[in-house]
Amino acid sequence: MNIVVAIKHIPSIADDLPVKGNNVDFDSVDFVLNEFDEQSIEQAVLVKEAVGGTVTVIGVDMIGELDGVLHLALAKGADKAVKITGDDPAADSHMQAKWLSEAIKVMSADIIFAGVQASNDLDGQIGPMIAAYLDLPYIGGVSFVEVVGNTATVNKEFAGGFGAKYSISLPMVVGVQAASKPPRYAPISKVRQVAQTATIEKVAPSGDTSAGLSFKKMAPPVVTGHAEMIGGSSKEVATKIVELLKSKGLA
């Protein structure tokens, strides 16, 4: 089974996002792996462990710092790592999906995993776009995958615990919401060891497209309301919350 995982390196939202002109100031933010990609890497490794094969992780190198993410994926069980030397921190989802699909096209993938979404998917997610560019079907919101022969059975989640089971003839692109099991932990020592020995294949971006969006503005939301903030030490905060709850008959 030839398994490919397409990942996204995205601005971290743990800190404030500075603005430059009409977009995020990409030079001043940290980039991290899209959280849903941790799930899709895990799902890919689980499928490999069940049926055999190889897992290739591929992403666009936005700021020249993708190696760390690829080393982590290798430490978690991926077999090969490929980076597309985009070197454009503002590359939108359409551009990334086009470059990724051009690179994946020659890999004869049986199944391609992508995170179901990313917080910077302003112009949509890369998973469905890779499917469109490669003329493959796509199914997202997936939380369970089982492969038997050339057929995958997946569970897709709707809201409120409802969902549906689908059977799919491979190849296809799967957008992972959550892996069949929670992502495994890779110890730092193993990641370090991988970093010393691993080879990351470099691919130049190929194919041309863009989101076709003209940016008017990028700014934090205009706040219409704000919580009444409770100040003081943790103990004081706790006291005030308990008083508040008691006054409302909630404690």
């Binding site: 917080s119 969006l213 003209s214």
Partner: protein
């Protein structure tokens, strides 16, 4: 090329989702500004489609479309859009719309705006507000060209404006639906056996800030003292720290308790969708700029563990 606005509606078990009506209402406003029609598109069998206030409704009825199938629905919508060339195609940014919007955009080489929470027209051009970076940023963008695809966050517009009784025109599928690679097998119903968080009056809800599975116990203790139940945001469930039955938000459950005490939840739009109507929202988070503080009634920038332990002593 027309100035019509297509709304791709969504339904389950014969019932349309609120976001379908919300989009139809907005589409009517945009269509009149563009000088076109608001067209509700209903894909699927076994549903009465005469429920929208749209200018017209197209109902594509085929037995292969009885249940949502991203491949079949995609083919039908692509064919319809190619034939009718609307100015705008609206999807919900939902479990089904997310499978189709970006896909259609790439198929047709037309722009797509996801996470949309408002649309307006300025100088005959469409402007879309999109809530990106976990709700920390609002992007204002103008899709270029003569057609755009937009995926709209649920709850962005009033649903009432889209409710009506326009008689649908039923058509057969515009494309052959044999030889599909994706096949619907069966529906999955919510897992039983756990508490129903939608029926609880008090919830202590934990997010990524809880840090590890071991720490969930602290939230359980606090909940017990308050006569509450523990719920969570999605990352906690994805990490396997709580069962999926406890998940609040877009891909989880919608709750409206009297108390929603949030420990370490930053307030991504997906989570807010599930709890913003709670009567009393109290949020504890270490990030003073966490977007949850724009929604909560009371907030504190504090260590959730210290606050929870201090509360336990006081209760």
């Amino acid at each position: 090329m027309s100035n019509d606005i297509f709304v791709i509606t969504e339904h389950m078990d014969g019932k349309f989702s609120d976001v379908s009506f919300e989009m139809v209402g907005k589409a009517k406003e945009l269509a009149s500004a563009f000088g076109g029609q608001a067209v509700a598109v209903v894909v699927g069998g076994g549903v009465s489609a005469n429920v929208f206030a749209s200018d017209s409704t197209i109902h594509v009825d085929d037995e292969n479309l009885a249940q949502f199938n991203p491949e079949a629905y995609g083919k039908v919508i692509e064919a319809l859009v190619k034939e009718k060339s609307p100015r705008l195609v609206m999807f919900g940014w939902t479990a089904t719309g997310m499978d189709l919007a970006a896909w259609l955009s790439a198929r047709l080489d037309k722009p797509c705006v996801a996470y949309a929470r408002d649309l307006c027209i300025e100088n005959n051009a469409l402007i879309v507000n999109s809530q990106v970076y976990g709700g920390k940023m609002i992007a204002e963008v103008a899709p270029e060209g003569d057609m755009a695809v937009v995926a709209v966050l649920a709850g962005s517009f009033p649903a009432e404006a889209g409710q009506g009784s326009t008689a649908a025109t039923t058509i057969a599928s515009p494309v052959a639906l044999d030889g599909l690679k994706v096949k619907f097998v069966e529906a999955i119903k919510p897992a039983g056996g756990d508490v129903d968080i939608t029926a609880q009056t008090k919830l202590v809800s934990i997010g990524r800030g809880i840090g590890s599975k071991d720490n969930v116990e602290l939230a359980e203790e606090l909940a017990q003292k308050l006569g509450a139940t523990v719920s969570s945001s999605r990352p906690v469930v994805d990490a396997g720290w709580l069962p999926r039955t406890r998940q609040v938000g877009k891909s989880g459950l919608k709750v409206k308790p009297k108390l929603y005490l949030m420990l370490g939840i930053s307030g991504a739009p997906e989570h807010l969708e599930g709890m913003k109507d709670a009567e009393l929202i109290i949020a504890i988070n270490t990030d003073k700029k966490a977007s949850i503080f724009n929604v909560a009634h009371y907030g504190a920038t504090a260590d959730l563990f210290e606050v929870a332990e201090a509360m336990l002593e006081l209760l």
